[in-house]
Symmetry: C2
Subunit: 298 residues, 2 copies
């Protein structure tokens, strides 16, 4: 059966990969574009993706949701800021709490019941049930509390996937992998922390796969609120990850280890006390994922 998807954050890294996969599968995809957005859509999306221009009001979103009546909503929109400044507080609450609440309200009013949401392993600093690494992680937790209202009082069914680090092709985020690819191309050097922190990188294709598994689960399973972690199963020190990239490229990267300090709340050991998603395991090993990244970028 073909799905009618409604996706937020379709312009982002994970959102773009989700839309591509859904188009490959022949599903219908509805995306939201804010009036103020300046993103341009990929050419291959043009005839197949339904674009809804949104005026950023709850009423506007209700109108769109009523019209689309999607079978599943995927909330991939997220403002990620590892260490915020005071001027970013409004945007973090606006993107990660207010927008999501408007989405839930629109779903409830339009009778749309199934939501896939994304959280972060950073909600679990020091492996605690809740201890946010940063304000971004706190806004993700805050949004889950809002989700609980719509589950308990409005009958929504929501599964949250908590992500670790992600990587893959077509990544315009200024995060580790795109920086490493840049170093490989240019031979430039880069100062990093001492690099002993354990990292957990999952290929974006595996995140997309997990999302499709969750989509099935939302239809097959009657639990109203669940949460699963999407881990590579291959946590390793950052130093070792960088060495693997160097090995794949056939030349070491020019890293000044310890050239900058750890962050104030650096995650030295990632979250491990999580539930895994039944029916999903990563298909792309870190070695294979790195091979693909290096061969396409260098």
């Amino acid at each position: 059966m073909k799905e009618e998807y409604f996706i937020t954050g379709a312009g982002g890294f994970i959102g773009r990969h989700l839309v591509n996969r859904m188009l490959d599968d022949g599903d219908s995809v509805h995306i939201l574009i804010r009036n103020s957005s300046r993103r341009t859509l990929p050419d291959r999306w043009q005839p197949q993706v339904y674009v809804h221009i949104w005026n950023e009001t709850t009423e506007g979103l209700i109108g769109i949701m009523n019209q689309v009546q999607p079978s599943v909503v995927i909330h991939a929109a997220s403002l990620f800021i590892a260490e915020h400044t005071s001027s970013q507080v409004d945007a973090l609450i606006g993107s990660n709490v207010l927008f999501g609440t408007q989405l839930l309200e629109a779903m409830a009013v339009a009778g749309v019941k199934k939501l896939i949401n994304f959280g972060t392993s950073w909600q679990h600093f020091r492996n605690e049930p809740y201890n946010p690494v940063c304000l971004y992680a706190a806004t993700k937790q805050a949004f889950e509390d809002i989700v609980t209202f719509y589950v308990e009082a409005r009958g929504l069914r929501v599964i949250t996937l908590k992500l670790f680090d992600t990587y893959g092709p077509d990544d315009d985020r200024k995060k580790l992998f795109s920086t490493l690819m840049h170093l490989l191309r240019t031979g430039e050097s880069l100062s990093l922390s001492p690099g002993e922190q354990i990292v957990d990188f999952v290929h974006v294709d595996d995140v997309v796969e997990a999302t499709l598994v969750v989509r099935q689960r939302l239809f097959a399973n009657s639990n109203s609120k669940e949460c699963f972690a999407i881990s590579s199963g291959e946590p390793l020190p950052l130093r070792d990850l960088v060495a693997m990239v160097g090995d794949a490229a056939g030349k070491p990267l020019n890293i000044v280890w310890g050239g900058r300090p750890y962050r104030a709340r650096e995650v030295m050991e990632p979250w491990t006390a999580f539930s895994t998603l039944p029916g999903w395991s990563p298909r792309i090993s870190l070695k294979e994922g790195i091979r693909r990244m290096v061969s396409s970028h260098v």
Copy 2:
């Protein structure tokens, strides 16, 4: 030692009573007025209360907090909506999550460490650790998640007082007690639900007293995050409460019991699985509080 208080929501029911008490105690009180506010201040506040006009930006609040350097911040601002409509979603997140986050950020930047926060027993529907009665209660829980970040990462010390129903003089909220006083004056009739729900009403003077106990606790105690309920210890069915009001007035109230249905998520049994605040118990019994209300209103 005299305190330097900074209070949000000073124009609200609890905020006004807090400010009055602090002025009685000879403390300094700083309050925040939004550019857009249309409230007028009580005459007796005029020479003694420091009023800070706020432009609603985080930067503006940082400037004020840097200048005031209060010993304690009391966050009494709250937008209460028992059953929201879609058009109120923005205001609920704005008032109960965004504004509070701006306040925490300003405190962190200005090095102000002690906060008294207010939550609601409605975060605990069916006596659960977290199950919000309504979206308002969910925004209170969401804000507590943001608080956790500032406690863990910025060293703030926060005590949250979770309130049940409150009542007392000078109450301009359209809630039960002011409605009952109106009925006593006019003899009008009112349709209510069947009235079997258990309610827990605390006199505002006792809420103020609890706040002052918490203020002491923030200085004496090194715990970084605590939460206490402010309960009357006299929960009773709504019908019995209304009968007590009638008894105190010497005439029964004209209530059509069952004239309207219970709310969709009516709280039939209030939260009981709470921690009580050491060193505090209510001084004003329900009977005495009702006597005062009736004698001053009729």
